[in-house]
Symmetry: C2
Subunit: 164 residues, 2 copies
């Protein structure tokens, strides 16, 4: 699948929300309130600069994934970026997440960030953990029982980090 | 020094801001922008519920420190609290930080939180690290070069955690 990454615009939101909604409602991989409404989700994801939101588009022009990145800390730690990713479940496993991850690493480096920190990677989200490790992210620690999974109960929450 | 901890009110702000300002301007221990203005600082520290802000008051009624605590994550990780502390440098070393820490641990436990996570403890802030360890917090990881200290350059940034 040929994937293009481009900056998100307001007109992309209607294509993003359906798969984002499914991910949020499932409550298995993200630390968002499961009943987050569309307006809250939009204002969480489509942030003003210095945040940066992109979409992944397939050859037909369909939006198949999205990423946002923003400073993880302020002040003396503002050189650490954060990033979040969502891929349409119907298109998973076709390199969309990897393309978004590679893009964000390059973007953050070009912006002058010195590292990317993921604050909350659910340990049962093994596909994501494997992908981030393959892109050079390290599990720095796992918060024990840090996440309450709707099916598995309390599971670990990884903090992952990659220097740029 | 006899210390009382009580919920902060708007009328406490003028007593909090002078020592908070000094700590923020120094830029050695907190990941705030060093030029944060008073309004930004106030809205960062005096948050609506479920956040909770307290002040430490000495026997004369003077405000000598403050703490705020709030959920560290949302959704499936909302059982992890965050907490931040500031003590008037002129009153440091007299148990104010410890009294605030003990209060916050009890408060978070009573609120139903299952853990407290500190996201960013600067490794050169050895007095704070020692205090948190003595109160049962563990250094889960240290982000290498996670903090740019105005004097020491890039130093590590601890993530500390205590189960309740």
């Amino acid at each position: 699948m040929s994937i293009t990454i481009r900056t998100a615009t307001d007109s992309d939101w209607p294509a993003v929300w359906p798969f984002m909604r499914d991910i949020i409602r499932a409550g298995e991989t993200y630390t968002y309130d499961r009943d987050l409404d569309e307006g809250q989700a939009r204002s969480t994801w489509f942030l003003p600069p210095p945040a940066h939101t992109v979409v992944a588009v397939d050859a037909s022009g369909a939006v198949v994934g999205t990423a946002k990145t923003n400073p993880n800390h302020m002040g003396g730690a503002s050189h650490i970026a954060s990033a979040s990713f969502m891929v349409d479940a119907a298109r998973a496993g076709r390199g969309v997440g990897r393309a978004l991850g590679e893009y964000v690493i390059e973007w953050a480096r070009a912006e002058g960030y010195r590292a990317i920190q993921f604050n909350a990677v659910v340990e049962t989200n093994t596909r994501a953990v494997r992908l981030w490790r393959s892109l050079g992210f390290e599990i720095m620690t796992t918060l024990p029982e840090g996440f309450r999974h709707p099916e598995h109960g309390y599971v670990g929450l990884h903090i992952m980090y990659r220097r740029l």
